[in-house]
């Protein structure tokens, strides 16, 4: 691991101030700054030499502030970015009113990792693409822009079939993000110039020609919370995950589903797919297909419009199908 400068932020504004101070206008070269929360991705990637920060700003002391709080109200659910995955997964109010959120968290990683990992860090976790994580592979446009993509012709069974480009097909690995995008959550972001709120759907960027730019966060910006609006469909929601092992494994395919039904007729459907795409993926076609439909066990989705690519596509359809059955 390369060495770094370690700093601690104790006040909410201090984190972005320290990040700004790390790169003063007068500086000739740019310092790479990373915020440290649970460290479950960052420390791992630093050991692998994939992440090479010059400055680490430890934001864990801010867990004691609003950044570490869960607030449940009539208007919705506010999750501080430093709430730990396990805390939100075990929260009784979230389990009963936003089950898809609790389930997406409890089906991810192991309990040790969930005790460590923050929600803000979770949505920003990096891909598990082997060619990205192993620096002995010289080709990786995400790690080293312009170097190529070894996964395109390599071992890519778990790579993305949606949202990829000829530069990168690395899968977005998270689960919680599918719940957030399905429930049309917003993200609060703090930066040097103040805070802003954007739809969660706008946080992640498809690889396109710049796979190294994964989010719309500007340098030094930090996620402070997630806002999930209350809606009739949040209670009737679930997260279903298909994986190689029963537990402690990334998704081959997963689905976050929320339904508002009346008299057996679907008024609103919210569906997001995980394990299949380069970014958290909202399945708008599937949602439209279900609208005004009457659900039964025999109801199946038409073949998804996914690009022609092998196995995982079929899995997506299977997942959505079994999910709908479960949602009933």
């Amino acid at each position: 691991m390369r060495t770094f400068l370690y700093q601690r932020a104790r006040e909410p504004n201090e984190a972005v101030q320290l990040a700004a101070a790390a790169n003063p206008a007068s500086a000739r070269s740019r310092n790479k700054v990373e915020y440290l929360a649970g460290g479950t991705t960052l420390t791992d990637l630093m050991k692998l030499d994939v992440a090479q920060p010059d400055v680490i700003i430890d934001i864990n002391p801010l867990t004691e502030t609003g950044h570490g709080r869960i607030e449940l109200s009539q208007r919705g659910l506010r999750l501080g970015a430093l709430v730990r995955m396990a805390e939100a997964a075990d929260h009784s109010g979230i389990r009963s009113q936003y089950p898809v959120v609790a389930q997406s968290l409890s089906q991810a990683a192991s309990q040790q990792l969930r005790n460590m990992a923050s929600l803000g860090g979770n949505v920003l976790q990096r891909t598990r693409c082997t060619y990205f994580r192993d620096v002995s592979y010289s080709e990786c446009n995400k790690r080293n822009p312009g170097s190529g993509c070894a996964a395109l012709t390599g071992f890519n069974r778990m790579h993305a079939v949606l949202g990829g480009s000829d530069q990168c097909i690395a899968t977005y690995p998270g689960d919680f993000a599918q719940a957030l995008i399905a429930l049309e959550a917003a993200v609060e972001i703090a930066g040097r110039g103040g805070s802003r709120t954007i739809p969660f759907a706008n946080l992640h960027r498809k690889p396109g020609d710049t796979p190294d730019q994964e989010t719309s966060l500007r340098p030094g910006e930090i996620i402070t919370s997630f806002l999930i609006p209350a809606a009739p469909w949040t209670r009737r929601s679930l997260y279903l995950k298909v994986r190689d092992r029963q537990s402690y494994e990334f998704a081959l395919a997963s689905a976050a589903v929320a339904l508002d039904q009346q008299d057996g007729i679907v008024r609103t459907a919210r569906i997001a797919l995980g394990g299949l795409a380069t970014v958290p993926w909202r399945a708008v076609e599937a949602e439209a297909f279900l609208r005004a439909a009457s659900l039964s066990m025999s109801k199946t989705l038409p073949q998804r419009q996914a690009p022609p690519s092998p196995a995982p596509k079929a899995m997506a359809t299977t997942t959505s199908r079994s999910n709908l059955a479960s949602a009933l």
Binding site: Y6, N31, G39, T40, A86, Q111, Q112, N115, S247, Y248
Partner: protein, 239 residues
């Protein structure tokens, strides 16, 4: 504080250990840690020796003082050891570490607490599991510098005057291991599992212990051990 919850778990008097120096390291009261952890400001052995050789000790010290003054200047070379203070098994430890040191390496290589094991060193196997502020975490992915001011409990901190923790005893009773390499991590994780309330049935135990791999596949015995200890820990906590 840690003593209180350990006492609650094992139903005995507060967990205490003699405050004797370990491995030649000095132990003092915890200092309030500063906001920025920077390389030591004083001249270290290497600087002094090199300074003596080059008859340039004074500039070395002056430069070190200057570094201290620029505490938030991230351009400062972060190559020197930092002094950190941690509470491990109810004892204060002050130790100088390389900033990159993981909590696991600190425990094993510097403090002689080799109970926590290095399996994968990437957060995948659970052999390094310890409790921080009572919650099970992976010490291989925890930077020692970031664990300052927290209460760390390792497998060495469980037994009380030679009396095993109920979870340790249960692993012995149920032969819940073969080679034993994953066992300290399994036991720490299992204690966390019971305290979280995730050990109410076999399926839950299997799910919530899935972060601890056992290459010898002692899983059925581990489940039995957790169930035995669960009952004893519950009894102890209500006494």
């Amino acid at each position: 504080m840690q003593g209180r919850w350990l006492a609650r778990i094992i139903g005995t008097r507060a967990f205490r250990r003699a405050q004797r120096p370990q491995n030649g390291l000095t132990m003092t009261k915890r200092d309030p840690s500063s906001g920025t952890i920077m390389p030591q400001s004083g001249p270290d052995r290497r600087s002094v020796l090199m300074g003596t050789v080059s008859s340039a000790a004074a500039p070395v010290i002056a430069r070190a003082a200057q570094t201290e003054a620029r505490r938030v200047a991230p351009s400062a070379s972060p190559g020197k050891p930092v002094d950190i203070a941690l509470t491990i098994n109810d004892r204060e430890h002050n130790v100088a570490v390389d900033i990159r040191t993981s909590l696991l390496d600190l425990l094993r290589e510097r403090l002689g607490l080799t109970g926590a094991k290095k399996g994968c060193d990437h957060g995948q196997c659970g052999a390094c599991t310890v409790l921080i502020d009572g919650r099970r975490v992976l010490s291989c992915l925890t930077l020692a510098v970031a664990a300052q001011g927290r209460d760390v409990t390792t497998i060495e901190g469980l037994a009380n005057d030679g009396e095993l923790h109920p979870m340790q005893q249960a692993f012995v009773d149920h032969d819940a291991f073969q080679c034993g390499y994953c066992t300290p991590g399994q036991i720490m994780s299992a204690i966390g599992c019971v305290n979280e309330g995730h050990a109410e049935n076999d399926a839950d135990i299997r799910e919530y212990m899935s972060g601890n791999l056992c290459r010898c596949a002692a899983y059925p015995n581990i489940v039995d051990a957790v169930k035995q200890a669960r009952a004893q820990m519950k009894t102890a906590s209500t006494q």
